[in-house]
Symmetry: C2
Subunit: 103 residues, 2 copies
């Protein structure tokens, strides 16, 4: 087993919750903080922490606006985030392929 693809897996994306956030945002232009929190069943603090990590990596853009006088926070992938996610998936596919043939 050649661990090269494994070692190249992006640690920022590999964490389960962040992988879920990236996967959800890859499928849609944007999602609100509330939609992410309810789908993934996270606390505000936990989701905020993971969003900050993705934002600091340059993978996620956060927009704060108001809707009916209530604050609305939306998240979307940046183009760097979309590229990093595609690279991550490429390496993950190789990992799955190699592990499957080893089993």
């Amino acid at each position: 087993m050649n661990p090269v693809h494994l070692l190249q897996l992006d640690r920022v994306i590999h964490e389960k919750v962040r992988l879920a956030i990236m996967s959800m945002l890859a499928a849609t232009p944007e999602l609100s903080f509330t939609e992410l929190r309810e789908t993934l069943q996270l606390t505000d603090g936990n989701l905020t922490s993971h969003i900050r990590t993705l934002q600091e990596a340059g993978y996620l853009a956060v927009t704060k606006a108001y809707q009916d006088s209530r604050p609305l926070t939306t998240c979307s992938l940046t183009s760097a985030g979309r590229k990093a996610f595609a690279d991550y998936l490429h390496h993950l596919e190789q990992v799955v392929h190699e592990a499957r043939s080893a089993l």
Copy 2:
């Protein structure tokens, strides 16, 4: 995107170094501590810590013996470990498939 497969990914296996250890051991009956450490370029302490986590989950068996009067530690997957790894791969394949179709 349905996060069900993501949420079912086994956290013990999902961590990159442990995923590498499980993948290597799935492909061969056993490996020595030294072989794992050198292939994965880890410190003794780091590898010991991950092996302990896998051992506590019941996924990995550790045997200590002597070879030419020198201690030899070998690791192998338990049958529970092999099953958990197969389950993990199943969910990971679904995650890759869903994410790929979303991109």
